[in-house]
Amino acid sequence: MRFVDEFRDAELGRALAGQILATVEPGRHYKVMEVCGGHTHSIYKYGIDDLLPANVELVHGPGCPVCVIPMGRVDDGIALATRPGVIFTCFGDMMRVPGSEGTFLDAKARGADVRMVYSPLDALRIAKENPAREVIFFAIGFETTAPSTALTLKRAKAEGVANFSCVCNHVTIVPPLRALLESPDLRLDGFIGPGHVSTVVGARPFGFIPADYGRPVVIAGFEPLDVLQAIQMILRQIADGRCEVENQYRRVVPYEGNLRALEVMAEVFELRPHFEWRGLGFISQSALRLSDAYADLDAEQRFGVPGVRIADPKACQCGEVLKGVIKPWECKVFGTACTPEHAIGTCMVSPEGACAAYYNYGRFAREREVV
């Protein structure tokens, strides 16, 4: 398949691993964070970490939108889903994220009309098919998914679909990266930048990382050779004493991003003053809400939500995992009380979550033997 087979070539992979080995300085430890969950998934699916020298450590970042949803937002969603006459729609993974009193699936089992959709457009279609019911879409995701929600809201407004509304939980990638760089817990040497978020926002927003923090960033694709090459490029920058934003994923990511997507997002959304991230706490201007022009489509305003902050379960260490402070298998409940089938923490819910990636690709068994 085009853009796939040539990026999974084993011989080229071994050559890149050799280049990485030749680039690193013996005795120095390198910590490289892959920002997004898609990279985490690729790293464990293809065993990329096994090809790296022992002194190159990959640290998993907060780029899985399911994983960073705090319990209070799930509770808000469930409060809406259980309102009489409501059809509540969300992406599949979101249905299994636990709130303080269960998941959307539990709410569905108790009688709420909760439906999985693949796209916000599906939710809008459901609204048109059910004009006597209120249809709410629980929107989550980074800048990759936000344009899709924005276009759907524009369409709903243009077509006058009055029974459609949206709970906006869209988040933005730059503020949590800045928060991580400010964190004393973590000393990172470089970042594998998010591929498809960059398709929308471009490379420019990551410029503050080399400029303000002196760390290299390489925007990367998701095939194994993409990730390996990005690691090699980061290590090369360090070896050369350079520090800049490079784009390994030029076949998809334009430097300036998708201007039409940014325009539609700017019309439909505005920044929230602050938003709670699971494990990272409240981060200023890190999430989106509907702009005044679209306030009539905002489910939070139309119906009201409890808006209560709920503390994470004590046993769960998703916060440390999301900050890259601990590895998933170092969490007390990993693979025992917390599994993909019965997740306590969000990182075990989504396949892009670091815990689920470890668990699903056999890291559980291997790491347990080491322990």
Partner: protein, 78 residues
């Protein structure tokens, strides 16, 4: 469409919620008036895709995320 719970993978094993992974699809036909296109992925699965953010023409490859094309592929060197 199945309403089954569980991890929400597409046919290539990606998480569709975000995961920052899009799906490459080929444009089969464009409905310019509605801003939609019929697209097909590598496994032959078809879907109606929002194309307001790209210049989609029949035969082009697009990167689709949550039902919306966010990039046209193949314009730049790999």
């Amino acid at each position: 469409m199945s309403d089954a719970p569980g991890p929400c993978f597409d046919l290539a094993g990606h998480c569709i919620t975000c995961g920052d992974e899009g799906v490459e699809m080929r444009v089969l036909g464009v409905d310019a008036a509605r801003g939609l296109a019929l697209c097909e992925d590598a496994q032959g699965k078809r879907a109606t895709v929002e194309i307001a953010l790209v210049d989609a023409v029949a035969g082009a490859s697009v990167l689709v995320h949550a039902g919306t094309a966010i990039a046209t592929l193949g314009e730049r060197a790999a």
